[in-house]
């Protein structure tokens, strides 16, 4: 621009022009251009330029443009005498001038040790342009983020580069804990055993520090951030020794910590809840009282059918009909409420903007993976797309040790540095909650969320969750995002499945939230306060619907769960057999959860209150109950109308008959209708016509429910693996996901 001006105008620019000396590009993918002309810069020596804090950066005709911090200062005015020709003094930021000097003159000895970015440039790990772009980001959207973290987010450097730069900057030695025999030999040093106990284990994970050696006077440690004053203070105080600090990489520390606590964490992931709250664990399905009660009911029924067949049949039929009708009425009422209002918490962009980026805490994302090579790239992209400072993301891919294929794929995927691969040691039960518990033991985040392998959360979901947490009191322990599917149109099964999810997440769960009832959490996208989760004993590894169980336990402990307006897109199961496996696991889990919490019904009533107790019975108990009862009632209906046997007319006499008909006609139609409303509310109107066929889907549900019942008896904690990656295209629901962003 300067070159286009005439002489007269150039002269008028003196002292009025503010210039940026940062490299720039004119389009997002264009070539970087440096506004500093090396020829002009070298009209003075670098020593003079650095001493005088100025930089000649452009020559146009007779005019030499010189960048200074303050053109009005006396030292700047001297420059006009000092330099030859016509001088135009331009105002520039001091940092701009320094960085530009580094670019054209090279780095000064000594300066290298002071600035990480400069060292990285000098060492060839980043280019000047990459550094400049990172600095620009630091001034803008990434305010408060360290330059090393920004460069890592941009994929320019890795943890080890940053560690080396940091070490150089701080004048500290660097140590590699990943390679070589000596790397972990210190772990078995007897003298270090007490050092590990000087503070709780979470300290080591939170501050990313490990002890390397100790003697009477010195404690040697390796840490990622040697400027972590809190960690240094704690260790100095606890040890009473001088600290000798090595800088190391993030993965180095995590590797050491994982080895150090592997056994303890593995045991905790299995047994923590069982040891702390045995009555909340599904390790045993029934307690003695429940077993006795069940046996007594069975005996009474057997005797009743022998002595008073019709009366017993009528009582059983009446009880079942009433129960069924109650569940139906409750669910329809709850869904009708939600259809009328937005019962979930609505977070707007304006709400999110009120949360300062610098105040965002560390956020842990746990992603349990088992035989999921097919969806790894999608998953990595989805996490990369999350709008959250990556230096505050603690992402852990939880990989089973025997799943070599996924481990290999994950290692080969060139994942960004904030994603950690965590190998879960093999042990029973082989369940997702156990893997999550293992991940939780190493979680550093103040908040935590679970995503499944095939999940694509809305990019601002974490920000929305933080906003909800900030706007609520401490009793809000969990924020559930809504789930939906991106492959809804793959086949009729996926259409029904999507419609069912729409009903569940758009109508039922928001309504339960509004009614202050316990919410059976969805399997993924539940955002939790990490400390609260730990206090509660985390997930039950023996329960295959650990999410629903956790929702109930949160409510029992006096915490609330909210539903917010953010959606995670998942892959709907498109294969019938695979679907039955998944659904049977869910139903089994609901049955487990109901049995666990009904060990002490009166205590549960006191803990949940009336509405909570009713909500628990209707959702956690009622959902599997309907699946199990449906085939019996359908069969009886067919027999009644086709054969009309007298014994059925006797059993289903009077009001039992009417309640049955009410359930048959109004109940079924109402559920169909609720599904139609649900898909419209979820922005999936194309599914409405398919919903009309969903009674066939209810048959599938019952098939799965009976499989679940069988497994509950014979393999209660067996985890039926759902295979992902069967979707034809991931982007099918992209438009929907996008549409929901602003909702």
């Amino acid at each position: 621009m300067i070159t286009a001006l005439g002489d007269a105008k150039l002269g008028q620019l003196d002292k009025k022009l503010f210039v940026s000396l940062r490299p720039f590009r004119t389009s997002p993918h264009g070539k970087w251009r440096d506004p500093v002309d090396a020829g002009a810069a070298h009209t003075v020596s670098d020593e003079d330029a650095r001493l005088g804090r100025f930089l000649p950066f452009q020559r146009v005709g007779d005019y030499l443009f010189v960048a200074v911090v303050d053109p009005e200062s006396s030292s700047s005015l001297v420059l006009t005498e000092f330099l030859d020709g016509k001088i135009v003094l331009c105002r520039a930021e001091a940092e701009d001038i320094m960085l530009a000097q580094d670019r054209v003159y090279g780095l000064l000895a000594g300066v290298r040790e002071q600035r990480m970015g400069a060292w990285l440039v000098a060492s060839g790990r980043v280019t000047a342009e990459e550094l400049s772009a990172a600095l620009e980001q630091q001034r803008g959207e990434a305010a408060g983020v360290k330059i090393g973290a920004i460069l890592m987010q941009r994929g320019v450097v890795n943890h080890w580069d940053v560690a080396e730069a940091c070490a150089r900057q701080q004048g500290l030695p660097v140590i590699d804990l990943l390679h070589g025999d000596a790397a972990t030999a210190f772990l078995y040093d007897e003298r270090l055993k007490p050092v590990w106990t000087w503070t709780d284990e979470r300290f080591w994970f939170r501050h990313l520090v490990v002890p390397l050696a100790v003697d009477h006077a010195t404690l040697t440690i390796a840490m990622v951030d040697p400027q972590d004053e809190e960690a240094l203070d704690v260790l100095a105080t606890a040890s009473g020794r001088r600290l000798r600090v090595f800088v190391t990489g993030h993965r180095d520390v995590m590797s050491v910590l994982n080895q150090r606590f592997r056994l303890a964490h593995e045991e905790a992931s299995r047994l923590d809840l069982l040891q702390r709250r045995p009555e909340d664990s599904a390790f045993r399905q029934l307690n003695r009282m429940q077993a006795v009660t069940l046996a007594a009911i069975a005996l009474a029924l057997a005797l009743g059918f022998i002595w008073k067949t019709v009366l017993t049949g009528t009582i059983v039929a009446g009880f079942i009909e009433l129960l069924y009708a109650s569940v139906s009425v409750f669910r329809l009422w709850a869904m009708a409420r939600a259809a009328g209002d937005d019962s979930e918490i609505i977070v707007t962009k304006a709400d999110m903007a009120r949360v300062p980026p610098t105040s965002l805490p560390e956020y842990t994302i746990l992603v349990p993976l088992y035989k999921e090579t097919a969806v790894l790239p999608t998953l990595a992209r989805a996490i990369q797309d999350l709008q959250y400072p990556k230096d505050r993301l603690d992402v852990k891919f939880l990989l089973e040790e025997d799943d070599l294929e996924t481990i290999a794929a994950a290692r080969a995927a060139n994942l960004p540095p904030y994603i950690e691969l965590l190998i879960v040691p093999p042990s029973e039960p082989r369940t997702k909650p156990k893997a999550c518990n293992y991940g939780l033991t190493k979680a550093r985040g103040e908040y935590l969320v679970i995503y499944d392998a095939e999940d694509i959360p809305e990019p601002d979901q974490l920000l929305k969750a933080i906003t909800v947490f900030r706007q609520s009191d401490d009793t809000l322990a969990c924020v559930q995002a809504k789930l939906s599917y991106y492959n809804e149109n793959q086949n009729i099964l996926t259409r029904w499945f999507t419609a069912e999810y729409a009903n569940w997440f758009e109508l039922l769960l928001p309504s339960l939230f509004a009614l202050k009832m316990p919410i059976p959490l969805g399997g993924t996208s539940n955002h939790l306060r990490t400390d609260t989760l730990r206090d509660l004993g985390a997930w039950d590894p023996f329960n295959v619907a650990e999410d629903a169980d956790l929702g109930v336990r949160l409510h029992k402990a006096g915490y609330r769960t909210a539903v917010m307006n953010s959606t995670t897109m998942e892959e709907a199961n498109s294969d019938f057999v695979n679907w039955v496996r998944q659904r049977s696991r869910w139903v089994k889990g609901y049955l487990q959860t109901w049995l666990v919490h009904m060990r002490h019904p009166f205590k549960l009533y006191r803990e949940l209150g009336f509405t909570g107790f009713v909500g628990f019975q209707m959702t956690v108990g009622g959902t599997p109950l309907q699946f199990l009862i449906n085939p019996i009632l359908w069969a009886l209906t067919v027999v009644w109308y086709v054969f009309g046997p007298q014994y059925l007319q006797d059993i289903f006499g009077g009001w039992v008959y009417y309640v049955g008909n009410l359930c048959l006609f109004l109940g079924n139609i109402s559920f169909l209708y609720a599904n139609v409303v649900g898909v419209i509310k979820a922005g999936r109107p194309g599914l409405a016509k398919w919903v009309l066929l969903s009674p066939i889907y209810w048959v599938f549900m019952s098939i799965a429910a009976y499989k679940a019942l069988n497994q509950l008896i014979f393999r209660p904690s067996y985890w039926e693996k759902t295979h992902h990656g069967l979707a034809r295209s991931v982007g099918a629901g992209g438009a929907v996901a996008e549409a929901n962003v602003g909702a």
Partner: protein
């Protein structure tokens, strides 16, 4: 922002209209609506009371629906299948609570006054929702109140608000459905469309006109949503949400008809259906015969019946013309097509000679005419607004006057001329025994008293003509009505199961429709060997004893 709100905001923006500030106005509006509803109900009850107890106008259809409610609880047992499947069941179901408390005030059943209470209650529903619709159309309070009252006190509407018949009830339910549909189109709130669908389903359970009206509104809704949002899937989904309840109600009704009456279309095919009754020749009025297979006369009649509310066709044309604009709102189209549903049905029925041309069959011109006028008033901008509203009040007043004149006409007031004359005092005579079904009630009273006086009797009775006696029977075990499941079996083999039969004179009408006469055509004349005449009533009905020689 939620989807619903977003839709609402977008709808409001595109329609460029003043959607009232909902929350602030809700409390006042509710008071206004409830106040009007109570007033309308009170006046309707007074009209009903006057009709029944002073003018002795008891409408047979209304009373028989109420007695069906009584029959469901007959003998102290709840027997839903006894509701019969001749017509839609809502009125009978709503009569059940009244049947249970009939001892408190016997006229609830003996004069069928329950029906009058119900029609007055539905009038209140209609007034409430038409008032709310006017509010949705942004009309000021004075205009809302005035126009609501002018609708509710339209002579035809008022008569049917008081007389216990189902026609005004249907109007009220259709208005409620339309009001909620308009609410959905204005706000995008899903509960509104579910309410609209539910009201329509309720309308189906009152009268069959809801089917063409619902089809018209549904079609209009689909086209409007598609035209407005350019989203065919959304349009389909909304139509499904609107129509599924009425569709389900129809399926249930058909299924029950199949299961219990062994005829899925029993309500169309039974001897009580319009088609069956007109086939008997009873209603072959000159104008009905003229319309038969003559589309010109049929159309003329259907159009001319818009005298029930003369602004209907001008308003229809005006709203239709407004839809030709480039970006109309989505509300006009469903109203237009919905309003055409009932007249088009009548065109089909009159042309094919399946229905008479009672004035009440064209009552729908009134609610739809009023709604279309309300829509037009919504579109009038300042400074013409006040003049338009005042003009509308005058127009409605004039329209009501024309309706009254039509009701007095022997041709156009078909079916309502006599009560109109009675109300206006132009034909004030002692009407006992002479008009409408009061004679049947008297017969029922006499026959019921006879049965009560002979507690040893167990009588077989056909409900086709002898239904009114049900209200007067003290011991339900004494009577076996033809609606009961085992009636036919007992009729064919009565020995030991019944000891008497009530039969009516065997004319062509009863021969075809009365179960007893149909099975034993010679019974009344005493030519069934195993019976013996034991009593004859003044109306010609006879009671025969069943002898031991009976099968």
């Amino acid at each position: 922002m939620s989807t619903a709100l977003r839709n609402g905001a977008r709808a409001a923006a595109v329609m460029e209209q003043e959607v009232p500030a909902h929350e602030a106005a809700t409390v006042y509006l509710r008071s206004e609506g409830v106040g009007l509803a109570i007033a309308v109900m009170a006046v309707s009850l007074l009209v009903g009371y006057d009709l029944v107890f002073r003018l002795h106008q008891v409408y047979g259809d209304a009373m028989s629906r109420v007695l069906t409610g009584l029959y469901i609880t007959w003998g102290g047992q709840f027997h839903l299948a006894a509701m019969s499947f001749y017509w839609s069941p809502l009125i009978s179901l709503l009569s059940i609570p009244f049947a249970l408390v009939r001892h408190v005030w016997p006229p609830l059943m003996t004069y069928g006054f329950t029906a009058n209470i119900l029609s007055a209650s539905f009038a209140a529903v209609g007034a409430y929702h038409i008032n709310r619709l006017f509010w949705r159309f942004g009309l000021p309070a004075w205009a809302r109140v005035a126009l609501t009252l002018l609708y509710a006190f339209n002579p035809l509407i008022l008569l049917y608000s008081g007389n216990g018949m189902s026609d005004q009830m249907e109007c009220a339910l259709v208005i409620a459905s339309a009001e909620n549909m308009v609410a959905y189109l204005q706000t995008g709130r899903l509960t509104d469309i579910t309410k609209a669908g539910s009201w329509l389903a309720a309308a189906f359970m009152v009268r069959y006109e809801s089917v063409p009206i619902g089809a018209g509104m549904g079609m209009g809704l689909t086209l409007a949503v598609w035209r407005y949002e350019r989203n065919w899937q959304k349009a389909n989904a909304v139509a499904i949400a609107f129509l599924l309840p009425v569709f389900a109600a129809g399926i249930i009704w058909i299924l029950l008809g199949w299961m219990i009456m062994h005829d899925p279309l029993y309500f169309l095919n039974s001897r009580y259906s319009n088609g069956a009754q007109i086939a008997s020749g009873t209603y072959n009025f000159p104008q009905v015969m003229a319309a038969r297979h003559n589309i010109g006369i049929t159309l003329y009649q259907v159009v001319f019946f818009s005298v029930n509310f003369i602004p209907y066709f001008p308003a229809l044309i005006a709203v239709a013309v407004m839809q030709l604009r480039r970006r109309p709102d989505p509300i006009g189209l469903p109203l237009i097509l919905g309003s055409l549903g009932a007249p088009l049905l009548q065109v089909a029925l009159l042309y094919t000679h399946r229905s008479a041309d009672w004035q009440r069959f064209f009552i729908y011109y009134v609610p739809f005419g009023v709604m279309l006028c309300g829509y037009l008033l919504w579109r009038v901008r300042r400074p013409w607004r006040f003049a338009a509203l005042a003009g509308a009040c005058v127009l409605f007043l004039f329209a009501d006057y024309v309706t009254l004149q039509a009701m007095r006409s022997r041709v156009w007031g078909n079916g309502d001329t006599t009560p109109t004359a009675l109300v206006l005092g132009t034909h004030r005579v002692k009407t006992f025994h002479t008009v409408n079904d009061y004679s049947s009630i008297y017969s029922g009273q006499v026959e019921g008293a006879y049965v009560n006086a002979h507690p040893g009797l167990r009588v077989l009775v056909s409900t086709f003509q002898s239904w009114p006696m049900m209200a007067y029977i003290h011991d339900p075990k004494q009577v076996i009505f033809s609606n009961q499941m085992d009636f036919r079996s007992v009729l064919l083999n009565p020995r030991g199961r019944a000891n008497a039969i009530l039969t009516v004179p065997d004319n062509s009408f009863s021969k075809q429709n009365d179960t007893i006469n149909a099975v034993y055509p010679a019974l009344w004349s005493g030519r069934v060997g195993w019976t013996k005449l034991i009593h004859q009533f003044p109306n010609g009905d006879r009671v025969f004893a069943i002898l031991p020689t009976a099968p």
